[in-house]
Subunit: 362 residues, 2 copies
DNA sequence: TTGAACTTGTTTATCGACATGGTAAACTGA
DNA sequence: TCAGTTTACCATGTCGATAAACAAGTTCAA
């Protein structure tokens, strides 16, 4: 009588269960009753515990499938150690999610998390979020098992709370060695090197640099390499070549304006991200400065749009999707007990398009 | 002895508690013991139950604060009816989050959710997600209280499972009346009307239309209004004026190419979103077609970048942030028991920039 | 003086799963 | 045959909160 699907007793059982738990989803006890085993057995079947024989395992599994049972994960998480939820923490930017950079990272995180059986929750590191210690509370209140920290910088002092490695956290596409945190980052130094190689090769010597956020370590790396490479080409970098573009189109346009006003003889502009490069391009176009005939412009990130602006933008490709996915995987490994420190650096490459050319002769 | 902070008994208590629950966060019982009341009382204080006197309320609250107690929300959700988590469901696009359109909606959702005490979880409506009935399972397994459905269309048949309104769900920036679902949407018909008014006023009669996704109701609305307005201007719309741009830059460029090949005399291109408009602009620029001298191009969405391309893009501004926020609020109201159907339409307006001008005389 | 209505708690069952110690039954080997 | 070992499953306490039922003390009207 293993196949009792249509027996009278079966029908009675169904009616009873239905009347008792009207509307509510099936739970462990229901399954146990129907399968005529204890709840413990069902639980063990669920968790593929080897203490259950193959025969009962299959019999119980059939009942589970037939009843459409799905474990209540609140109960699961309450008694087990894990929630199987990760948080993606974003900086407190206005309308922060509408950004191709973060979007690409998040896509990588979400895809990998889903594949590994994890859900992803969104958080923003707003001032009161940190002030009320929510960054710790979300662990202690059992919302999440770990945090992926995007767009963070040296001023995010709450990160110091993670130095002791009690709560799993990983920094994505940046690194903060002062706090010894795990990280996965794109190789900003190598990327900048690729840019400088290329520009110097094209004969550029007077190069404007639109950077941003000196509190971001990778941005400082970029600046360092920029200056080193100029120096090794025996060019004396002048301070007015360098300006802050705030990572935005507007900021990029404004920085371009200031640089070109103070140093009209620069033949190339290197921007720390594509948004600022687009802003700079926009400013130049408005002023009748031709790209790349009069000035070369080069970005960083290689976002989708870079190929579809006019002229299309030369840029450093960052494997952001991969960085997000890898960070997610490493974080989950750590949650599951791995103790090694994570410090991965992903390679970048230059994508040459139309916005760059040989240095203009002036 | 309310202030027993430094008494010997107090110290002993601390030691005992500490030894018993090493490292674990404080729980309700700990607080109750320390405050010398029952767990029920602490719970009631937590939930601001008026049955507790002001005196005990304050006394217990002090203990709570001093011990740094934060309720375990798994336990809270398990015994109460709510999880206070919402899901944002996105379509199964590759790298879907790196999209300014969805980003803006999500920003609105997250900000409002945070203000109302809700967390936000990310989901993607991938084929196997739907096939395994995860869209129902996330309710039954108690992951979430409700879903905000972004970028959905008539082909998402799983939405039919929400017709009975058993599980709270709201459609954001689209509507699917066949299933009677709640929605908050931007006024695509009015937006299209604004575009057509403007183009007709500028003397354009032969207008190309790059639309996409006929399975999206709002896209069909746009097409309808496009054709109606041409007709009322006594223009016979020709089929080769209309093409599909797949909502992407590449698609927009390709559609522009096809339209201009089949109908070289069109004087304006109207794109269903800014990404396709940018693609079209890019194609025209490459072919030496001047914007707006030879052809006017107009977009839809008014994303950030629209103002920072060259020439800057005329577009219909959609209040996407507001739509996300409002949808979030309405969904939470429904979760809390409100039964009214939600069907809100938000106004749009045209933002005129440089990509449009009087129709060229040809 | 009685008792109904209010206040302000407390006791305890419950949510739904997991995990551990316990224990029949089956098996093993001398 | 019987002690010892495996195998396979069960009973139950536990996670940490909520909430309904219950209780004791107060107030107040008849």
């Amino acid at each position: 009588m293993i196949e009792g699907g249509a027996s009278p007793e079966f029908a009675v059982e169904v009616a009873q269960v239905a009347s008792k738990r009207e509307g509510k989803p099936v739970n462990l006890r229901d399954v146990a009753k129907r399968a005529k085993v204890s709840v413990a057995t069902v639980s063990m079947v669920l968790n593929e515990n080897p203490r259950i024989s193959r025969a009962t395992q299959m019999r119980v599994q059939q009942v589970i499938d037939r009843m459409g049972y799905r474990p209540n994960r609140l109960a699961q998480s309450l008694s087990s150690r894990y929630t199987r939820v990760l948080a993606v923490m974003l900086p407190a930017l206005r309308h922060g999610f509408g950004d191709a950079y973060f979007g690409e990272l998040i896509s990588g995180v979400c895809d990998r998390a889903g594949k590994l059986g994890y859900k992803v929750m969104l958080e923003q590191a707003k001032p009161d979020f940190v002030k009320s210690h929510e960054h710790i509370a979300i662990y202690e209140r059992r919302y999440i098992d770990g945090i992926l920290c995007l767009g963070c910088n040296d001023r995010h002092h709450f990160l110091a709370d993670f130095t002791d490695r009690r709560y799993p956290l990983i920094v994505v596409d940046n690194y903060l060695e002062q706090w010894g945190l795990d990280y996965v980052v794109c190789d900003y130094r190598a990327g900048t090197d690729q840019v400088m190689n290329y520009l110097l090769q094209l004969g550029h010597r007077k190069i404007g640099f639109i950077n941003a956020a000196p509190e971001v370590r990778t941005a400082r790396d970029r600046l360092e390499v920029f200056e080193q490479r100029l120096q090794s080409a025996e060019v004396q970098a002048r301070p007015e070549w360098i300006d802050d573009g705030q990572f935005t189109e507007q900021g990029g346009a404004a920085a371009a304006e200031r640089i070109l006003a103070a140093a009209p003889d620069v033949t190339a502009l290197f921007a720390g991200n594509d948004k600022m490069a687009l802003g700079a391009m926009h400013y130049c176009s408005r002023r009748g400065i031709r790209i790349p005939a009069d000035i070369s412009i080069i970005g960083f990130d290689d976002m989708q749009q870079a190929a579809f602006v006019n002229p299309s933008l030369t840029s450093v490709h960052l494997p952001l999707y991969e960085a997000g996915a890898l960070a997610c995987e490493r974080l989950i490994e750590r949650i599951r007990g791995k103790v090694d420190r994570v410090a991965e650096v992903l390679p970048t490459h230059l994508v040459v398009r139309e916005s760059t050319a040989m240095a203009a002769q002036r």
